[in-house]
Amino acid sequence: MDTIRLESVSKIFRHRPALFGWLGHEKRGQTRALDKISLQVPGGSVLALLGPNGSGKTTLLRLISTVLLPDAGRVLIGDEDTRTAGTAIRQRVAFAITAERSFFPRLSARENLDFFAALDNVPRRRRAERIPALLEETGLSDHADTLVIKFSSGMYQRLGIARALVKQPSVILLDEPTRSLDPASAEDFWKLVQKSRDRGATIVVATHNFEEASALGDSLAVLQKGRLADYRDLNRTTNRELRSWYFDVTRELDAVPMAVGGWQ
């Protein structure tokens, strides 16, 4: 079981405008996407990340997945630092990227899964067992041999999740995983996540859905403008306390622009 630790992690994106300013206006300067975030996700637990758009949830997931490297601070998976042990970490971490443009459009669902599973070092024989099972679990078995170019957004979503689970990772990162799923598929999906947790996987899920987050998470973190606004251990909080805590936090966050900008 891998523990995830973020130690005072900051991430800044610098904007580099075009050579000639008169060709058009572009944002200059930099965006501080994450600011000194410190957080620990114990092995085998689920952390739910909540926060408005642009609060830094996806950036945090991308840092854990090693797609991004921090500008300051450290991201540790087990005892390994993402800055120095990227390849070793990628063996164990799966980031469920579910965007339509993250698959090979002229390959079928089965062929896509086989391709990515091979790159994830899943042996051929295991792929032959795992892929049909995952297609079944994600409700895609009837479309296993359909070219993914013909898929709907919900199907891409499910395929992305199957792709992440095929190597049986010890860390699973999910970015709004039920965004395009109907309620029944969403429920099936959470059962799948539950199964991975029971197997000992550490899971970080970014979501806008408080109900889902509180039902599934062992802990809950709220991000706002790249900062950790609040954190709660759900095993030590009753449902009622949690609800009132979350609405207090979000009310405070909503109040920030008024306090800063002073508009009425």
């Binding site: 991308r62 980031f95 086989d114 790159l119 994830d120 042996p123």
Partner: protein, 269 residues
Amino acid sequence: MSVARTADKFLVISLRDLRTAARYRTGFAISAAGTSIELAAFYYLSRAIGPGFRPEGVGYFPFLLVGTGLYTFMVMAMRAFVHCVQEAQQAGTMEVLMSSSTSAPVVVMLSAASALLGHSVQLTLYVGAGLLLFGVPVPAANWPGGLVVFGLSLLIAIALGMVAAALQIAIQKGSAVLWIIGSGAWFLTGTLFPVEALPKPLQFVAACIPLTHSLNAMRMALLQGASLGSLAPEIRALAFFALALLPLGLAVFSFCLRRARLQGTLAFY
């Protein structure tokens, strides 16, 4: 990483490319037609120039055939590296590929190797068809020598390809860099005419380009049947370029990849 696992990855990558190519059905036919037209054009060009023009002591058509065949292969090989990064960036698969358990240089190398396999078949057909269809005599070709030259040229193409792929990641314009390299090489390396026709300073520049040595050695081996002893100076030059450029290519690629992970520009295109 075990050989079996690498072979398995190469197989799935090649299958992906084959399946994708087969599902874009007209693409293959268009590319085959293009190659045939190019061959015919060179044949009639050499006929128009006449038999009197014999660069390096061989007929102009075989000179062109080997020159353009190898030049095209080298450029295609380098392009294969840029293309696999560019395609991943544009198709949106870049971040998924770069967050897989296979290290990024291996993913790029295997993807390029799959494309190279196709280009090698194309090169063999191109040169073979030219030699057979247009009745070019190959009196005593030194095939083993040609193979050594081909192998070393391939290593150089891989190294330069890694640099071009790195530039694609860093500045998203690797194909522009390739275009500059390709155009310069076309002009300077003796693809269409012997290097000796260039002014002295440009001949010096040409000697610093690995492709010049590849073309010269390949023509010597295939068209003049030069022995390994005669090929030795060119083989030494090619080996030097390969040894110097391969680690450089890998270092530049790793540096640009790390920089892109830091700047968050990995999937930019």
